[in-house]
């Protein structure tokens, strides 16, 4: 029985400067969750500056002309000396033949300039202010497509949030930039120690040749090493404008009051035209690509197949195909490969990685159960795919997926912070906060034959990239 989409009562208003504000009133405990999403992700970095969107996100916790500062007028010249020293170091390190002694000297000069600027810093004041307010989940995340800033607060803090965040995005000061860049390098090293992350990075770099989805969001280490505060400020000026953002507020608040406060505090933030979002178009893949990653860990694999992007009608049939393969314990991968033949520890499929703004990859992630090998598992995964290509899924498989999707739509309303994030993300990146509900309708319209047809069209050998993690030979 087709169920019409039941949209939650979201109130929407666009401020005069272009900032889109969404409010969903929900009561149980007196709390409110915020998500501010910018269409500013790793795909928006200029070439050679991978990781810049993410590094700016870190810098957005470092205060403003008033917050974290003991007096910005005196601080500014000290920060400019830090930047000059930072750029001198980058120039020497990036030269054809860096002189180790000169690098050492320049690094010491940077340390000294940073220490001098410390005199004007009020340490961690932004964080401390939120602690006092009783924050929960104060965080930010950067992806290929976007950057999101999130926090939940007791409901009476609504206006405090408006005051602090309007200041944060109107008047940021990127102090302690080079130290934070070191923190990000440690974040990258942490990822380099985890086999799963290493494999995902290798898959994207292999599957994309032209489109920036090939780059890791954290950035390549050699790119991070060359990022300057000036780069980050340039990124901020280009993309951190109200007409490039959506704010979602979910919890114990009245929509009209949220709109009024947002207008009051955010309207001084100036809109500016945004640059073109055209990115190099990924050429059609002509033949399978394979890569091995040598890493001291147990074997696993990742497969990627180029998808047509969410604007293409095939996308929803492909979503259904991924769900037929990997939704739950009755999904084919689990039922046949984890149980059944018992050659996988896990196997899952997902329609869209690493983003949705541009055509991306449909991905499969799996690990073999010893004594089975990645090659055996790969063959078994492809057999399941071939079966789906040849025979349309059963009615109960389709019904199960749709039922679970509908139930998810109800359950996602339980979490204020989750709801805020998904409303803001869908509105800002996919053009409509109702996107998840509309997707339910599109999935309902997919026929079993279309699922098989999409599997045949996209899960082809020629469209496939396979990456295998192997232990080093002893």
């Amino acid at each position: 029985m087709p169920i019409p989409p039941q949209y939650p009562p979201v109130a929407a208003r666009r401020l005069s400067n272009g900032l889109q504000v969404l409010v969903l009133e929900k009561k149980f405990v007196p709390t409110v969750s915020f998500a501010l999403v910018f269409k500013a992700g790793n795909v928006d970095n200029t070439p050679g500056k991978t990781g810049l969107a993410h590094l700016f996100e870190h810098m957005a916790f470092k205060g403003t002309t008033s917050l974290n500062s003991a007096g910005y007028a005196a601080e500014k010249p000290a920060l400019d000396r830090v930047e000059a020293a930072g750029q001198a170091l980058i120039a020497e390190e990036s030269s054809a033949n860096p002189d180790p002694a000169a690098v050492e000297q320049l690094r010491a000069a940077l340390d000294e300039a940073e220490a001098a600027a410390d005199a004007f810093i009020v340490e961690d004041e932004y964080w401390k202010l939120y602690s006092t307010l009783g924050e929960s989940g104060l965080n930010a995340m950067t992806s290929a497509d976007y950057t999101a800033y999130v926090v939940s607060l007791p409901a009476p803090r609504l206006e405090a949030w408006m005051v602090i965040e309007a200041d944060r995005f109107k008047n940021p000061v990127l102090r302690e930039f080079y130290r934070e860049r070191s923190v990000v390098m440690e974040e990258r090293r942490m990822g380099e120690s985890e086999p799963g992350r290493v494999l995902w990075e290798a898959l994207l770099a292999k599957a994309f040749t032209a489109h920036p989805y090939r780059n890791p969001t954290i950035g390549w280490m050699e790119d991070i090493r060359r990022l300057s505060r000036t780069d980050a400020e340039e990124f901020y000026r280009t993309y951190y404008v109200p007409n490039n953002a959506t704010l979602a507020v979910v919890g114990d608040v009245e929509p009209e009051r949220v709109f009024a406060l947002a207008e009051k505090h955010f309207s001084g933030w100036q809109a500016r035209p945004l640059p073109s979002r055209e990115r190099p178009v990924e050429p059609p893949q002509a033949g399978e690509r394979r890569a091995e990653v040598i890493f001291k860990a147990q074997p696993s694999l990742r497969l990627g197949f180029h998808n047509p992007g969410p604007d293409h009608p095939d996308f929803y049939a492909l979503m259904m195909a991924c769900e037929v393969l990997s939704s739950g314990k009755t999904g084919r991968f689990y039922a046949n490969l984890v149980e059944g033949r018992q050659l996988a520890l896990y196997a899952s499929a997902y329609t869209s990685f690493p983003g949705s703004r541009y055509p991306s990859l449909c991905v499969i992630s799996a690990a073999p159960k010893a004594p089975h090998t990645t090659e055996q598992l790969d063959a078994a995964l492809m057999e399941e795919i071939e079966r789906l290509q040849a025979e349309p899924p059963a009615a109960w498989e389709m019904e199960k997926i749709l039922n679970n999707y509908d139930a998810e739509m109800v359950k996602q309303l339980e979490s204020n912070s989750g709801m805020a994030m998904s409303l803001a993300q869908n509105e800002q990146l996919l053009g409509d906060w109702r996107y998840d509900w509309q997707t339910g309708e599109r999935l309902r319209a997919v026929t079993p034959a279309q699922v098989s047809a999409a599997a045949a069209k996209y899960f082809s050998r020629d469209n496939r990239t396979a990456v295998f993690l192997k232990e080093p030979a002893v």
Partner: protein, 447 residues
């Protein structure tokens, strides 16, 4: 703190968590209920008095396997395939897990499917059959998980640090081994189920749109009422003995980052020192404005991940500090980690710093209960762990009473790193200082 202009006055936040309803079924099964008709969904969770720490020696992994086979090994009325298919068609979920100190069984269902899903859930708890083929396949799966236990050095370091701290043979520190998993038989699983999954040994919490509380109680009485069995009996857990003095354990691994863990002796559960210790941890390693994050991450750029926390145990809990850093800064980071713990034990924190930590805990207290289910599950958890019924209600006031002197007194007892265990996974050849600078080093092979 210099506040931004226009910031409204920051008042205190007070939140009195609702009580919910507590009842005991005719067979002794304790139930906590809270009706919440916001959405047509019902959640249940059961706390089963059990835990990995009660595994028999030589059979570590038994509790966890039992819990997983409850879910995957079939029941008297449902084959494994039947159970999966029915639940997934209803978009309902049933799960069963085993923690160190508790067994858990969860159910989520849309209101319209509650009775069908509850029937499966109840059958799983009362009448699991441990299908022999499924037993074999779950043991094989657990062996594969063991094979992979050192793939992520960050996670391995925390596990190995606790194992070294309590001793590999102590229930708080032990881990499953291939031999202990292979030794487990279907009869062991049946016995583990019969010993622990009994109505007198379970506290159940439910919230959601289940009709009236009376309707829900009679539904539970109907499903579980005929089930018999009192509280479980347990062998005593051997006392924890922590040797005095600094110990250093190094596991050689050529990883991109060194993982550094510090473990110190912690609290017995219900010790009122938990309040000042909680404030002390907030100051030391609670968030990005804590001392560890400020000094090791933000000021020195040595780490992305750095934190501390304390865990309570029936006998002797622990406090753990963690930091991941490049191998060539492992020495600097370790020194700073130790220095920050030592500072806590050496001097009172400032009045403002203490107030900030208290505010952070008290003003965010409401976030422990984002939904009616979270709240009622907390009520059940505190009963399970033997807290007084008003524990949650007095929590904020108890935190608010902590001052700098109490923080120092707790830190002197519990955060002085002199007796701490330090465990590092990383490539010693690349370290900026030898680990022997921090105490006598024991080399341990990765396994």
């Amino acid at each position: 703190m210099s506040l931004p202009p226009g910031l409204p006055a920051i008042g205190a936040v007070s939140f009195a968590p609702p009580r919910g309803r507590r009842a005991v079924l005719s067979n002794g099964l304790t139930v906590h209920l809270m009706k919440d008709a916001t959405l047509p969904v019902v959640h249940l969770t059961a706390f089963i008095r059990a835990g990995k720490m009660h595994d028999p020696a030589g059979r570590t992994g038994l509790g966890e396997l039992t819990a997983r086979l409850l879910r995957d090994g079939g029941t008297a009325n449902y084959t494994p395939e039947d159970m999966d298919r029915r639940l997934e068609l209803l978009a309902a979920s049933v799960d069963s897990n085993m923690g160190v100190e508790e067994g858990r069984a969860d159910l989520t269902a849309l209101t319209r499917d509650l009775d069908a899903a509850l029937d499966i859930y109840a059958d799983m708890l009362m009448r699991p059959v441990f299908d022999p083929e499924k037993v074999k396949s779950k043991i094989a799966e657990s062996l594969e998980v063991l094979r992979r236990r050192n793939d992520d050095p960050g996670r391995a370091s925390v596990r190995e640090a606790l194992r070294a701290f309590y001793g590999a043979g102590h229930p708080y520190g032990w881990r499953s081994e291939p031999a202990t998993l292979r030794a487990i038989t279907r009869e062991d699983l049946q016995a583990c189920h019969a010993d622990h999954y009994r109505p007198g040994n379970i506290i159940l919490a439910a919230a959601g749109d289940f009709g009236t509380e009376e309707e829900m109680l009679s539904r539970l009485e109907d499903k579980f009422g005929g089930w018999k069995g009192g509280p479980a009996e347990f062998r005593p857990i051997p006392p924890v003995t922590i040797p005095a003095g600094r110990r250093v354990v190094h596991i050689q691994k050529d990883a991109q980052q060194a993982s550094i863990v510090l473990v110190l002796k912690g609290l017995r559960r219900h010790d009122p020192l938990e309040y000042p210790l909680t404030v002390a941890n907030e100051i030391l390693g609670g968030g990005l404005s804590s001392r560890l994050a400020s000094e090791i991450r933000s000021r020195r750029g040595l780490a992305y991940t750095v934190y501390s926390y304390s865990a309570k145990k029936p006998d002797r809990g622990y406090t753990l500090g963690f930091c991941g850093t490049a191998p060539n800064t492992a020495g600097r980071a370790t020194e700073e980690l130790l220095r920050q713990f030592a500072l806590m034990a050496a001097a009172e924190p400032g009045a403002e710093e203490t107030a900030l930590a208290r505010d952070a805990i008290v003003n965010s207290f409401v976030f422990r209960f984002p939904t009616a289910f979270d709240l009622i599950a907390e009520r059940a958890a505190f009963e399970y762990y033997g807290y007084p019924a008003d524990y949650l209600d007095g929590y904020a006031a108890n935190i608010s009473a902590v001052g700098p002197a109490e923080v120092l007194a707790a830190s002197r007892r519990l955060l002085d790193p002199a007796d701490a265990l330090l465990l590092v996974i990383g490539d010693a050849a690349k370290f900026d200082r030898p680990l022997s600078d921090f105490g006598p080093v024991t080399e341990q092979a990765e396994d």
